[in-house]
């Protein structure tokens, strides 16, 4: 990638951060925080977006950011009062700005109509208040023409001649003290002029007083420069751009262009400058710039160091060159290509696996755990795990980046439903692996939608129930038991259990006389085909039910559940592994194939007695586990690896909890034991495979498939049609 393109990538990353800061700043203000720095921070966020956008020529973005910034500058300067209505407008403006950034990222421009409307609103506030701004067509055509002054303007002053020919200019300039005080130097200015053409420089030292009255900080010299060049006066003026107020300058053109015929190569500029310096050196050795320190042993004369009288000398660097350690301190962060970290994580994963294989082989050779070899392996294992943890930590990111996107979503849904909603977030610094971060946004979005659309009541209903009209939705993240838990809670009406139950019965999801606990009833909403909305609402609907949410969560090795208290609200709890890079699994053999079953799905493994296996129908069967009968699932048959069934009494059974089909007993030939495996995607080179979640590579270099337990159980139910399962097939 071209380096400028890389910076562009950085720019958009930075934009996302700035937009996040902007929004959270505005939300804090909205919540009543009056810290003045907040206003500065939101101003800076918009300002920085504009600055970067300008660098990349993203003009639509620059134009909008400029209008936004102008209003914020007014707010910052106290010209516009930051009242509550304005904060709401600013929040929406932030959304428009975010749209512009998103559009620019894809090479386009933000929605023109929405922009024009927002520009009008912002400008109305800038010019004094919430103008009700009647929609005027003319205003729409060029919404912010006068605002566009950000691009560098090339002033085309009337030139003296169409094409400047070589001519002779006489420039005199006399620096004032202030010029030197700002680190400008006469010598550099003369050098700049020299770049324009041939020069003749004359030092005018008439103003130099006698030694006794010499003031160290006063500028005494002036210069007269004759320039023979093909330039305009404008070009010469540019040289003095930075110092125009700090020197007196005259620029005059000599009348006949022939005047300088015999000038020849100009006099040595360095000699003239040196002469000027020499004049000073004789008068008084210029004090060298240096740091004033308590221990300074220099005479009193230097108590007020007068560096400005040595404009021609290089600023003398008295200080020692910085220690390498100090240099290092500047590099608080390093930037690394994420792919390199991914590779490292993969390799460490392989290392963990190889270490486990090695341990297994060593044990197979009869080394005791207490032997030297055994102890060495223990240390190796510890070390390997430590390396793994450290490497994983490099890629860990706070969930903040996802949480930051939610306030806008909540505003939009609140707008669509007409409900008053306040979003409270907690634990946004909770860290989780990048692989997980990328995929939690969608389930959170759905849970929030559901909470607002179905969970919260309207303001009137709330008032009637004695609740504040504004509903609260709480989004929180925390670590628990080696997993990340995301909670989405609302203080709404809670789940209407009788209704949920009735729907489940109507749709054949449960038997009419099913005995279900409250919790079980609540979780019926995750069943495929279940939707509590009597009509598909635009918000929670979009054809996506909670069953799909649960499926995608399960695809990540996660679980989702809901708990509810009637009248008080509901809470969705989503629990996910901290990484999608490795997984703890049970390695099993089925029909000559080695498979991995995610440990999170396994309740227990057992070797059933023949008496515990009961035939049911032609192919089905159940296993008696304590007091219950659990359906048997022959993995090899379901996956199509074999047609003959394993006799569960001759193999091993894994009791699993599947979210779709409840508890099931997976039948395998044998178990190899638990192992951490590195997850490899099947989709990167191929595609999804039914019943398979992903693949991994075993210690012997062969690929083993990782089972998708839920999909497998669902597939097993598809074969012999059973009662109450019609919607599962519909979901496929």
């Amino acid at each position: 990638m071209d380096e400028l393109e890389e910076i562009k990538v950085t720019f958009f990353q930075e934009c996302d951060e700035l937009l996040g800061d902007l929004e959270s700043g505005l939300l804090s203000i909205d919540a009543g925080d009056t810290e003045p720095e907040l206003v500065n921070a939101i101003f800076r966020a918009v300002h920085s977006v504009k600055g970067g956008a300008g660098a990349f020529g993203l003009e639509a973005l620059v134009r909008f950011a400029h209008v936004f910034e102008t209003l914020l500058d007014n707010v910052r300067g106290g010209k516009t009062l930051l009242e509550s209505d304005l904060v709401k407008v600013l929040l929406r403006a932030a959304d428009v700005l975010a749209d512009h950034v998103a559009a620019a990222k894809l090479g386009g421009e933000g929605d023109a109509a929405a922009t024009a409307a927002m520009v009008e609103e912002l400008e109305a506030w800038t010019s004094g208040g919430p103008g009700l701004a009647p929609p005027s067509l003319q205003a729409d055509v060029q919404p912010n023409e006068d605002g566009i002054v950000f691009k560098p303007v090339t002033l085309s002053l009337p030139e003296f001649e169409d094409v400047p020919k070589e001519q002779v200019w006489t420039i005199t300039f006399q620096p004032m003290d202030a010029l030197y005080a700002r680190a400008n130097e006469a010598g550099l200015l003369i050098r700049e002029i020299e770049r324009l053409g041939e020069v003749e420089v004359e030092l005018l030292d008439d103003a130099l007083p006698v030694f006794d009255s010499l003031e160290p900080e006063t500028a005494y010299f002036a210069w007269k420069v004759r320039l023979k060049a093909d330039v305009t006066e404008e070009k010469i003026r540019e040289v003095f751009e930075f110092v125009e107020d700090h020197c007196s300058t005259t620029i005059a053109r000599e009348a006949p262009p022939t005047a300088l015929v015999e000038t020849g190569p100009g006099p040595d500029i360095a000699a003239i400058l040196a002469a000027a310096q020499a004049a000073f050196t004789e008068a008084e050795p210029p004090p060298r710039p240096q740091r004033i320190e308590a221990s300074d042993t220099e005479p009193v004369l230097h108590a007020e160091p007068a560096t400005s009288v040595v404009p021609l000398a290089q600023p003398a660097t008295v200080r020692a060159s910085p220690a390498p350690a100090a240099e290092k301190a500047n590099q608080a962060t390093i930037r690394v290509d994420p792919e390199r970290i991914d590779t490292l994580i993969d390799l460490v994963g392989e290392l963990v696996i190889n270490q486990a294989m090695l341990a297994q082989r060593v044990a197979g050779h009869g080394f005791a755990a207490s032997s030297d070899v055994g102890r060495g392996l223990d240390e190796l294992e510890q070390l390997t795990r430590d390396i793994q943890d450290s490497v994983m930590a490099i890629r860990a990111q706070p969930v903040k980046s996802v949480f930051q996107r939610m306030p806008r979503l909540v505003r939009e849904i609140a707008g669509l439903t007409g409900k008053q909603v306040r979003l409270v977030t907690d634990g946004e610094n909770t860290e989780v692996d990048k692989t997980v971060i990328e995929r939690i946004s969608e389930p959170i979005t759905h849970m929030l939608r559901n909470a607002i659309d179905h969970g919260l009541e309207s303001a009137e209903d709330r008032a009637a129930a004695g609740k504040p009209p504004e509903g609260t939705v709480r989004l929180a993240a925390l670590h628990r038991g080696g997993r990340i838990v995301i909670e989405v809670g609302d203080d709404g009406r809670g789940i209407n259990r009788p209704r949920v139950r009735q729907i489940a019965i109507d749709r054949g999801l449960i038997a009419a006389d099913a005995q279900l606990t409250d919790e079980e009833v609540d979780n019926l909403i995750f069943l495929p085909g279940f939707s509590t909305a009597s009509q598909v609402s635009d918000i929670s609907g979009r054809g996506v039910g909670m069953d799909v949410v649960r499926k995608s969560v399960q695809g990540l090795g996660g679980r989702i559940s809901i708990s509810s208290r009637p009248g008080l609200g509901s809470t969705f709890t989503l629990s996910l592994p901290l990484t999608l890079a490795v997984l703890d699994g049970m390695v099993i053999d089925v029909a000559g194939q080695t498979l991995v079953v995610p440990l999170t799905a396994i309740v227990e493994s057992l070797r059933p007695a023949a008496s515990e296996v009961k035939k049911l129908g032609v192919q089905g069967g159940v296993l008696a586990v304590r007091d219950a009968y659990v359906p048997l699932v022959d993995i090899g048959r379901v996956l199509g690896f074999q047609t003959a069934e394993i006799n569960p009494a001759e193999g091993v059974v894994l009791l699993v909890d599947s979210e779709v089909g409840g508890r099931a007993a997976l039948v395998a030939d044998s178990i190899h034991g638990q192992r951490q495996v590195v997850i490899k995607s099947l989709e990167s080179n191929y595609q999804q495979v039914p019943g398979i979640a992903a693949a991994t590579i075993l210690g012997d270099g062969r690929v083993a498939l990782i089972l998708d337990v839920d999909a497998l159980v669902a597939m097993s139910k598809r074969e012999p049609p059973r009662m109450h399962e019609p919607s599962i097939q519909a979901a496929e």
Binding site: L639, K680, N685, Y686, Q688, V689, R702, V703, A704
Partner: protein, 155 residues
């Protein structure tokens, strides 16, 4: 990236040719990432039979397709002499199981003739063109067409 599809006229092309099911085929050499011996693949459940499974290609999971079976020819019996040609298709890699690699052909694009209208659908679908060299006929495989259809098959 390495799509070989477009070539400028008169620019010579290099093709890797190989045997599959008693017929000679070729693919653009630019799309060949490597050629390796056969190793047992881990079968994929619920997949078309020409998908022989997946193998470990230096840490990545590589699907193996029996080219002969894909072309509706009798399935390949993998032996020690069988070869896997790893080709790049877009962003993906796929291993083609073939009987043996035969040649590297350097041809003018004009030497490629369009596929005549033969009865076999698979031939039409996957063969980009025919090349005659001496008395051999080599069919150029359009590798990019081999995979996408899979999406709909198992979905």
């Amino acid at each position: 990236m390495n799509q070989p599809a477009i070539t400028v006229a008169n620019e010579r092309r290099e093709l890797t040719s190989f045997w599959a099911g008693d017929q000679e085929y070729c693919v653009d050499i630019m799309s060949v990432r490597e050629i390796r011996g056969w190793s047992a693949a881990t079968p994929l459940p619920q997949s078309p039979s020409y998908m022989r499974g997946v193998i470990n290609l230096r840490g990545a999971v590589l699907p193996i397709m029996d080219l002969a079976e894909r072309l509706d020819l009798p399935p390949t019996e993998p032996s020690e002499r069988s070869v896997i040609i790893v080709v790049q298709v877009g962003e993906r890699l796929v291993g083609l199981l073939v009987d043996a690699v035969s040649d590297i052909l350097s041809i003018n694009p004009e030497q490629i003739q369009p596929t005549p209208d033969v009865g076999c659908d698979q031939a039409k679908a996957f063969v980009r063109g025919l090349i005659t060299i001496d008395d051999r006929m080599v069919s150029e495989i359009a590798v990019e067409r081999l995979l996408p259809e899979l999406e709909s098959l198992a979905a």
